[in-house]
Symmetry: C2
Subunit: 417 residues, 2 copies
């Protein structure tokens, strides 16, 4: 079974918003053996939406369109569907009632504008929306089943699972399984070289790499008629990829570095605290993105000002002035004091020049000291390392935070073996 | 002048990565009067890429394709362009030399795989890449100018500015100007109601709304033959939008809430500190995303564990046990102590149940206390407010962090007037 994914919205085609729905839909569909042929994004233009619905319905058996179901006059999906189907729009009373109820729960009257959301092309199916006001619509155009879902990701996702999945499940003659192996610390071409012949384009499972946010992700796609075969071949190639890449690999699927670190901390019953200067709380944010992180993350300090470095961690102004706030002694003291103050097993400390200002000849923008302290009987064991990260402020901070997490990951893996 | 934006990559069409390039390109093009007709994403499939290049070149005068210029065997753009043009690929020696130099600077030998990146369809133009190894390619297909750029956003953006912009600038007969007015605190339909007739679809400038991440952004698009007229009309409508929306508006363009707060703090010469529990450093992260934030952000604490709340801010276990860590007294004490310890003018404190676990009947997941303390002669003035945010852990944390920033924003606006 093939699919076409359409997205509508001036804000998308003009680039004011990034379309994340299409990627999410494709991934869910692929997991159920449905291959997406293409994504296409057009503006809030009735003729363009009509043309794309017709073309999509010719190209694939399944068409999913997101957006254009809102209450405002730039929401044109209902009308476009009616035109393609050649039917008028009827008021769907139960939908109107649901929309009224939705506002009632919020303790507000329904704005008059929301009235249009209860319109539906005659003969099409209304898809209930449990997460917002816009019902979806399902219809058959030629040989294709077409689903129109809201553009708001939170609403779209719930409606896809409830209304679209049952239709597509098991209707495909193939099983396509994908897995991602996530790595940190190697560039894309060096990862590709390690993978070598595994990346040949005529292989099945097919192996590809993508670089994003300092991570290189290895994608493996297994496409076979039988589910058992697809699964077995996928598992075999995933194992080969992981063997070839060794310590670069931190997880599978959409595992984040912070999750990988969290899992290691949990399995070792260890705890960590953080002391951040240039990253301003990013490492803490990444660690606490993970549900259950309170089992191993204590919290810590954002010592953005030198005064807080002195006040909270007792790093004297004299040391800061002598070596600079971005220096090995300051990074090491940050980590050491944090371990001492919290009794955590590990502390991660970051101090750097994130830019765009504040760089100098010997400490250009991108210079970051990362220190890790490990609690030990007499005195914490501290190790600090200096990095020069490329790119702008965002990239420097992102790489600094991830590098700190990775240093802890490698330390925990070492202590595991 | 019209444009078509193409993106290639199995990881995109299968939904493993989100395409952010197309949105970025459309926005840049729109700013220079080039309207994007559509975005289309296809996989690493030679025939599909060839077909899209041909179709794009028929639909628009400008075609920009991203991706497929890497060193691996799933990078097919060079070959697809050669096929559409009906020419062989030649080795471009200066590119090979640049790629070698790139690796030399990194202190590594050039992997053999990178060799293919120096191939270019005969007669096409090579576009130098100052940011990575993949040169771009420009060619003319029928009446269209086609640019192939790398998929890595950092490289693509630099190359667009250097190689594509000069071609498109001033070749368009219209001036399209866009502005975004950013709001926080109101739902999309209530914002739309306040805008009323300004949102009529037959108006120019055209006004639309989009909701994302708790923010509602009002987009205004002004499209006139004369630059002066486009500018004047845009300014007029932006002013009208801002008047109707009042305090909901925190900025224009891509201003973030943290930037808006930062600008207010700077203009008032005030400083802020943060104490975060469930957000784990997000508010600090958001504040320090902004370059120059050290002028007003002191840093603070991530008191993720109750022990750190006690140890660092002197909030006794007795209080935490009696009221719960997610309570008005604890939130208020967090903010008050932070002001006292740092001498900052304001403190923002957040404690809540981010979920998925930890909720109870009276404090379900999504319950968040946000407190703000203001330094005052005798004793900080503290105000705390309780919220019930919808959604999952990510959404609750995101809304909590933004709501805290917004509370400070409204306070600073009040003290300005």
């Amino acid at each position: 079974m093939n699919a076409v994914i359409l997205a509508t919205g001036d804000e998308l085609v003009l680039g004011q918003n990034v379309d994340t729905n299409s990627a999410w839909l494709s991934e869910r569909l692929a997991a159920h053996g449905v291959m997406t042929i293409y994504h296409k994004t057009v503006g809030d233009d009735l003729d363009a939406i009509i043309a794309e619905l017709a073309e999509g319905a010719q190209a694939a058996e399944l068409v999913i369109l997101t957006g254009g179901l809102g209450p405002t006059s730039d929401d044109l999906t209902r009308e476009a569907l009616g035109r393609v189907l050649g039917v008028p729009l009827d008021l769907h009373e139960p939908s109107l009632e649901r929309i009224r109820m939705f506002f009632q729960k919020l303790g507000r009257p329904m704005p008059e504008t929301n009235h249009v959301q209860a319109l539906c092309p005659r003969g099409a199916d209304v898809l209930e929306n449990d997460f917002g006001t816009a019902p979806g619509i399902a219809a058959t155009i030629g040989g294709a089943r077409v689903f129109a879902l809201p553009g708001v990701p939170g609403e779209m996702k719930g409606m896809f699972d409830r209304h679209v999945l049952p239709t597509v499940r098991n209707r495909s003659g193939r099983t396509i399984l994908t897995e991602a192996v996530r790595t940190f610390g190697g560039g894309e071409s060096s990862i590709a070289e390690k993978l070598g012949d595994l990346m040949r384009r005529d292989r099945n499972p097919l192996v590809g790499t993508t670089a994003s946010g300092g991570l290189v992700t290895v994608r493996i796609r297994s496409d076979f008629p039988s589910a058992g075969k697809a699964e077995h071949e996928l598992a075999t190639v995933v194992r080969q990829v992981e063997e070839r890449l060794g310590n670069f690999v931190f997880g599978r699927g959409d595992t984040s570095l912070a999750q990988a670190v969290g899992n290691l901390l949990k399995s070792r019953r260890k705890t960590v605290t953080t002391v951040e200067s240039c990253t301003g709380g990013m490492v803490g944010k990444l660690l606490t993105d993970v549900a259950g992180s309170s089992a191993y993350y204590r919290g810590g300090w954002v010592v953005y000002s030198n005064r807080l470095k002195e006040l909270e961690l007792g790093i004297s102004m004299e040391i800061i002035i002598r070596h600079g706030a971005v220096s090995e002694p300051v990074a090491s003291l940050m980590a050491e004091r944090a371990v001492n103050k919290t009794d955590a097993d590990y502390a991660l400390a970051i101090t750097g020049v994130a830019g765009p200002d504040g760089g100098s000849d010997d400490k250009p923008v991108g210079t970051v000291w990362v220190a890790m302290a490990r609690n030990a009987p007499d005195h914490p064991v501290v190790r600090a390392e200096c990095f020069r990260f490329p790119g702008d402020r965002d990239m420097v901070r992102d790489r600094a935070a991830k590098t700190a997490l990775n240093i802890l990951r490698l330390e925990l893996m070492k202590s595991l073996s």
